[in-house]
Symmetry: C2
Subunit: 312 residues, 2 copies
């Protein structure tokens, strides 16, 4: 199993990426082989200082970096020697089995869609976020920003993809699927939600429980919550800011601590032909380690194959 | 100034409504005259026990109640002797200047739209919610559920109505208006947000500062945040549930305490010809008192007249 890691992505790269790699390798009995893509000299120097087991890594030199604010398509096209471009090249050619970056999110999405491509039958790949439930459980919200405008059939596929991820990766049996909405009853909502409801209701591959409202997001009502990426992105960023604010204000509680995105290790792109995990720009060692673990688990549990079965 | 109060609306009516009235009257030097609409006998009994100054109230008997889960249009039509129907009748006929209820939200909205009607030039009346800012400030988010599907010109009017409310009622000079979106730059977002941006940018009656993201909602970026009612309702209910959850978990902090909706006294319906304030079903005395204060302030500050000037 070869997992590629963009060592140049994120605000604290490559140092925190190396520290994440070191943690991952020291904690795993049978680690994957990690392809570390980035500035060879810088990486060599850092791994020497961080007790990284060289048996499990391969350094792939890249000469360029796609900045956090560069235009994704343009940058990927022009910077062929960037860590992200090389990563997708190795992924598409089969030399790597999964790819991780905390760099330019747009470039990671463009790479996922145009380099390794969507699974046959998948209308729109999607990104999701973990939602900490007040009872200690773990929910999944999707889409969180890849698809700002959606059609009902997109939400229906998000429900299937979310269910597969929730089951295989989060370990939830027969996950309950809810449609994000503004009321409980069927028929409530905007035009999109009204049209999506019957599709979800008739979909036999999911366990649809009906609408979920804003007040249900943090409660144990649905394990998988589907919406278009506009609403989902706003919920995600609001939740992230809540963690920052409570930390700044020194409001401590284990429930609030679970809003720390570092615990979850990035956002997998679901519905593409290989596991791709996108991290937050401010990822540190723990986030990098957890991203590697998510990619490894997606490979172990054959998430892509399962999505293929469900959606092709 | 005559302010009508539905004494039968909400889970704790009429007791908590009476307690709210008592508080309001005891705290105000020059209180408005309150029209208390409801079960006469029950109200008489309660006001006798709660030291309500009878000089400032008038009891209006109603024989019916619209339940929380009744169909709004049907109930308003069939229950002409209900407290909400009588309230709108008195409001429309000019006997009352404002009307407040913590009862059936749908019936209050239907009454606002069809009994007292929208101001000329207002495409869509709207409801808003107060957003506690982390720095202690007070933001306004709208629409929060009256208009699940919107056109760009609706958001543009919400921006104007929100600015007037923010200025006159929340006391914010030249309030900064932000467009809820999934990215910072112009051109980001779903089709609606992309199309609304240039309208807001060119709108000379507002102080538009650009897009605001989920992470900015609780921060001091925009005073007035506009979106369609689908996203807004989900944000509102998520914020409300957060207050409940932190209370249940005994996570105490003054910032979290500010999420208590009781502090704000309900949601005014903006863009209709008279002040209407809708309360939460679980409103207690403080919420009722604050709803009366909001209605009074809307009359004092001539919010409706100002909206008329801006939008006609």
């Amino acid at each position: 199993m070869n997992i590629g890691l963009d060592m140049m992505g994120g605000d604290f790269a490559p140092l925190e990426a190396v520290k994440g790699v070191a943690r991952y390798l020291s904690e795993q009995e049978q680690p994957a082989t990690l392809f570390l893509i980035g500035d060879q000299q810088a990486i060599e120097k850092l791994i020497a200082g961080h007790k990284v087991d060289r048996n499990h890594i391969r350094i792939i030199a890249s000469e360029e970096v796609i900045g956090m604010h560069e235009h994704p398509t343009k940058a990927l096209k022009e910077k062929k020697r960037s860590s992200i471009a090389i990563g997708f090249h190795l992924l598409a050619s089969g030399k790597m089995d999964a790819f991780i970056s905390a760099g330019n999110t747009g470039a990671m999405l463009v790479g996922s869609l145009f380099s390794i491509k969507a699974l046959e039958g998948v209308l729109r790949p999607t990104i999701s976020t973990i939602i900490p439930k007040e009872n200690g459980g773990t929910g999944l919200l999707l889409d969180v920003g890849l698809n700002a405008d959606c059609k009902p059939e997109h939400l229906n596929q998000f429900a299937v993809m979310g269910s597969v991820f929730s089951h295989l990766i989060l370990g939830i049996e027969n996950p309950k699927v809810g449609l994000m909405n503004v009321g409980e009853e069927e028929g409530k909502g905007n035009i999109l939600a009204q049209a999506a409801y019957p599709l979800l209701k008739e979909n036999k591959s999911i366990n649809f429980i009906g609408n979920v409202e804003g007040r249900d997001i943090l409660k144990d009502k649905a394990d998988v919550m589907v919406c278009e990426g506009f609403t989902g992105n706003i919920i995600l960023k609001l939740a992230e800011s809540l963690y920052e604010i409570t930390k700044d204000k020194k409001i401590h509680h284990e429930f609030l601590e679970r809003f720390n995105f570092e615990n979850y290790g990035g956002t997998p792109v679901l519905g593409v032909t290989k596991p791709v995990v996108i991290g937050h720009g401010i990822s540190k060692a723990i986030a990098f380690k957890n991203m590697i673990l998510v990619a490894q688990k997606m490979l172990d549990k054959k998430v892509v194959e399962q999505l293929k079965n469900e959606l092709e």
